[in-house]
Amino acid sequence: MTDSGATRMTAVSDSLMRGGAAGSATMAALGQSEAIARRMRRRGREARFSWLVPTIYIIVLMLPIYWLINMSFKTNAEILSTFSLWPQNPTLRNYAIIFSDPAWYSGYINSIIYVSLNTVISVSVALPAAYAFSRYRFLGDKHLFFWLLTNRMAPPAVFALPFLQLYSSFGLIDTHIAVALAHCLFNVPLAVWILEGFMSGVPKEIDETAYIDGYSFPRFFVKIFMPLIASGIGVAAFFCFMFSWVELLLARTLTTTSAKPIAATMTRTVSASGLDWGVLAAAGVLTIIPGALVIYFVRNYIAKGFALGRV
C-alpha cells in the first residue's frame, strides 16, 4: 500500500513537471513546479549538514566516557599532577590491580552471577504469563497487567528497607539469590510487557493450526512458539540483564561481603583507600564493557524495549 501510494505521488509530480515544460499548463502550475524544485534543492542543502547534529551529539556523549578510559591508563601521580588529553606514560597497572585482587574481581563475578540468575528467572516465569496476556481474556487480566506495571514504576528506595528485613528473616542476606529475587521486582513486569508486545505480533492462526495438528500446549510452546518469538526473548533477556546490571541501591543494601556487586565495591574502595582514581576509572570502564558488547545485537529493538514492547 505504501509503495503504490508513493508511485502515485511520483506520477502526479512528474506530470506536473512535464506539463510545465511542454507549456500546456498555466503560469501558475509552472511557478508551482519551480517552487517545488527550489524547495527540493533547499532540502538537499539542509540534508548535507544534518549529519553535523548527530555527530556533535555523539562527541558530547563520548567525551566523559573517553575521559574515564583516559584516566584508567594513567598512574595516580599523572592524574593528579599533569593535565593531559591522553596518557603520557600509558600503564596497565590499574587493570592489573583489579584482575589480581580478589576483593575487586570477585565483585564482577558476584554481579554476573546474580544478574544471570535474575535474567533466567525473570524470562522463564514471564514467558507463560505473557502468552496468557497476549492470547486470552480472563478474570482480572487488565488489573493484573496494570498492577505488574506499578512494580516496574516503584521506586527502589521504597523497597530497600523492607527487603532488608524480609531477606534477613529468611537468612538470605548476602546471597546472590536474594539480589536476583529483589531485582525481579522490576524485571519480571518488564519481561512480561516486552514479551507480550512481541507475542501479539504473532498471528493467532499459528496457535490454532498447531492445536488442530495435535500439539499439546507445552510442546507447541517450546517447539513452535518460542522459536517464532526468539528475537523477543533475546530483547527481554537483554533488558533484564541491563536493568539488573545498572541497579545499585537494592544490590548494595542486600549484600555485605560474599555477594557484593562490583558497583558497591567501587563506592567502598573509593572511601577506604584515599581515592585511587586510576583503579576507580579502570573498574568503571570494565562495568561498561558487558553492555557495549551486546548492544550491537539489539540495536533495532532498543526503542521497543525501553517503551516496554509498545513501539
Binding site: P54, R137, A157, K304
Partner: protein, 290 residues
C-alpha cells in the same frame, strides 16, 4: 485481535504472581505495617494510627524534597524532550550511519548508574576533570561540591547526557515508521520544513513521545544513585531529592515509622502516574491492532 475468554489462563500467570508477591507484596505490606505502628525496640509494636502520616504531611522537610524532585523532573523534561526530537530529526535514515548512531547513542543508557555518577564526579572536578579544568582555564569558578547552583547544573547536565538518547531512540523509531509517500505529498503541496514537522512528523511521533515523557518523568522522579554518588544530597540540602531523603531516614536514621509513611505517600504518587502511563500505552495498543 479478538482474545478468547478462558479463565484457565490464570495457571500461566501463577508463577509470576508467586514471584512478584514475594518480591513486592510482602515488602509493601511490611511498609504499611510500619507506617501505622510505633515501637520501642524488642519487636514490641503498638498502634500509632495516622500519626506518622500527619508528621510527614506537616513536615517542611518532606515538602522541600518533593519540590526539589518535581523541579528536577520538570527541568529534565524541558531540556531532554525538545533536544531529543531535534537530534532524532537529523539522524540518518539509511546507510552505515544508522547502526553507528544507534549503538553509540545507546551506550550511556547501559552504564551502571553509580558509574554514571562517578564519571561526572570526575569529569566536573576542576583539578582532574576535563569539564572542570576547561571551565577553570576559561576563568569560570566552578565547584559542584560547595555551590548549590553548580551542583544542580552538574546533575541536570549529567541526566541530560545519560537519558536524552532514550528520547532520541524512541522518536527515531516513530520517525522511520512514516511512509515516504507522506513526504512526497508534502513536497508537492510545497510544505515548508516547519509544516512537515508540525503536520506530519509530530503527529506521527506523538505516541512514542508520550511514552518518552512519561518514562522520563517517572525515572527522574525516582532518581537516586547518580546524584547520591555526585553530591550525596548536598551541598546542604540542595540536591536532597525525595528518594535520597527517604533512604537517609529509613536506613541512615532508622526512623521506621516516618520512613514508611513517606514511602506510602511516595508510592501513591507513583501509582497515580503509572495509571496515566498504562492508559496511554494500552490505548496505543488498541489503535495499533486495528
Amino acid at each position: 485481535m479478538d482474545k478468547v475468554h478462558n479463565n484457565k489462563a490464570w495457571f500461566l500467570v501463577i508463577p509470576v504472581l508467586v514471584l512478584v508477591a514475594f518480591s513486592a507484596v510482602i515488602p509493601l505490606m511490611t511498609v504499611v505495617n510500619y507506617s501505622v505502628q510505633d515501637t520501642f525496640g524488642n519487636n514490641v509494636f503498638f498502634w500509632a494510627g495516622s500519626d506518622w502520616f500527619e508528621q510527614v504531611i506537616t513536615s517542611q522537610r518532606f515538602y522541600g524534597a518533593l519540590a526539589r524532585s518535581l523541579t528536577f523532573s520538570l527541568v529534565i523534561l524541558l531540556i531532554e524532550i525538545p533536544l531529543g526530537i531535534f537530534i532524532a530529526l537529523n539522524m540518518p535514515r539509511k546507510g552505515i550511519g544508522v547502526p553507528v548512531c544507534l549503538v553509540l547513542m545507546a551506550l550511556p543508557l547501559l552504564i551502571p548508574w553509580n558509574v554514571v555518577g562517578t564519571i561526572w564526579q570526575v569529569f566536573g572536578r576542576a583539578d582532574i576533570g576535563l569539564l572542570g579544568y576547561t571551565l577553570r582555564s576559561l576563568g569560570i569558578t566552578y565547584n559542584y561540591a560547595t555551590n548549590p547552583t553548580h551542583a544542580w547544573l552538574t546533575i541536570v547536565i549529567m541526566d541530560v547526557w545519560h537519558w536524552t538518547s532514550l528520547v532520541v531512540l524512541l522518536c527515531y523509531a516513530g520517525l522511520v515508521s512514516i511512509p515516504d509517500a507522506y513526504y512526497q505529498a508534502a513536497k508537492i503541496d510545497g510544505a515548508s520544513r516547519w509544516s512537515v514537522f508540525r503536520y506530519i512528523q509530530l503527529p506521527k511521533m506523538s505516541r512514542v513521545l508520550l511514552i518518552a515523557v512519561l518514562l522520563r518523568f517517572m525515572d527522574s522522579f525516582m532518581i537516586y544513585t547518580e546524584p547520591f554518588v555526585v553530591t550525596g544530597g548536598g551541598p546542604g540540602n540542595a540536591t536532597n531529592f525525595l528518594s535520597i531523603d527517604l533512604v537517609k531516614i529509613a536506613i541512615g536514621q532508622f526512623d521506621l515509622g516516618p520512613a514508611a509513611a513517606m514511602s506510602i505517600i511516595y508510592f501513591l504518587i507513583i501509582l497515580a502516574l503509572s495509571w496515566v502511563f498504562y492508559t496511554v500505552m494500552t490505548n496505543y495498543g488498541t489503535e495499533r491492532s486495528r
